[in-house]
């Protein structure tokens, strides 16, 4: 047995580990709301794992990954996703903090702090990567 696509293989392993973790949590506190998530994780995990172990499928995946058009679309999508994440995290931060202050509920304030952290992480990572690429090129 040989691994032809390491990234796919480890994604599969991670998904299956997540499914196992959910199953373990289900055994402890009931399966009611976890069955669907477990099923999705198992199906995706097995599919990734088999694709990572098959020569033909790994080749297909690699060709698709290296395709110029696919790369362009992925890059465009991820840069757009970063901008959307920044805007939504900022809005969430404000909403949670206002809700926390209005309702005097600590839960909302904690969630607002988490959203603020995510916003800061997105802004700072953008700043540092800009500096990195400015220096590199």
């Amino acid at each position: 047995m040989r691994i032809y696509n390491k990234k796919g293989f480890w994604t599969g392993v991670f998904m299956l580990a997540l499914a196992l973790l959910l199953a373990w949590a289900g055994l402890r506190s009931g399966f009611q709301d976890k069955i669907f998530a477990i099923l999705v994780c198992v199906v995706c995990g097995v599919s990734y794992l088999f694709r990572g172990l098959s020569y033909e499928m790994s080749r297909e995946d690699r060709v698709e990954e290296q395709d110029e058009r696919e790369r362009f679309v992925r890059a465009r999508a991820q840069s757009r996703a970063l901008q959307i994440t920044q805007v939504v995290c900022f809005a969430l931060m404000l909403a949670f903090v206002v809700m926390g202050a209005k309702a005097r509920e600590q839960m909302f304030v904690a969630m607002g702090v988490a959203a603020a952290f995510c916003y800061m992480a997105a802004i700072l990572s953008e700043l540092f990567t800009q500096i990195y690429y400015q220096r590199k090129y």
Binding site: A75, A77, A81, I84, V88, A115, E126, T129, Q130, Y137
Partner: protein, 139 residues
């Protein structure tokens, strides 16, 4: 007076509003070092953006910089890397906060983990939505 660069103009206004809010907070709750820093950063940056957007020459410069192929490629690469970095960081922190919160039975940590989970889900969904949009647009 004409606005030559709308995005910079509104960004300048937004930054000046934030500076104004920091002044209002200082008047209401007293001066703090943090608020002074916020004001000192926001005020000049907002004013610069505003004035640049009202000047024809500066707006032209800004627009040319945005259209420059090399700059665009660099920005694109930086955004992609930044998206991956921030997603991984938020995902790892979510697991850590939820795990530690459950272990020591601290509700605040669990709430923060939930906040992180919401942001993580938003970033994954935004990526998914943007992939579908871009596949349709450039496909």
């Amino acid at each position: 007076m004409k606005i030559y660069h709308k995005r910079n103009f509104f960004w300048g206004i937004f930054t000046l509003i934030l500076a104004g809010l920091s002044v209002a907070t200082m008047i209401r709750f007293g001066v703090s070092r943090y608020q002074v820093w916020v004001f000192l950063i926001m005020m000049p940056s907002g004013l610069t953006q505003l004035l640049r957007s009202l000047s024809y020459e500066s707006s032209k410069e800004d627009r040319l910089e945005v259209l420059d192929e090399r700059e665009e490629s660099m920005r694109q690469r930086a955004w992609v890397l930044a998206y991956r970095m921030s997603s991984i960081l938020v995902g790892v922190l979510m697991f850590v906060l939820l795990g530690v919160g459950a272990k020591i039975e601290n509700d605040t940590l669990i709430d923060m983990g939930m906040g992180m989970a919401v942001c993580f889900a938003i970033s994954v969904l935004a990526d998914l939505g943007a992939q579908i949009y871009c596949q349709r647009k450039y496909g």
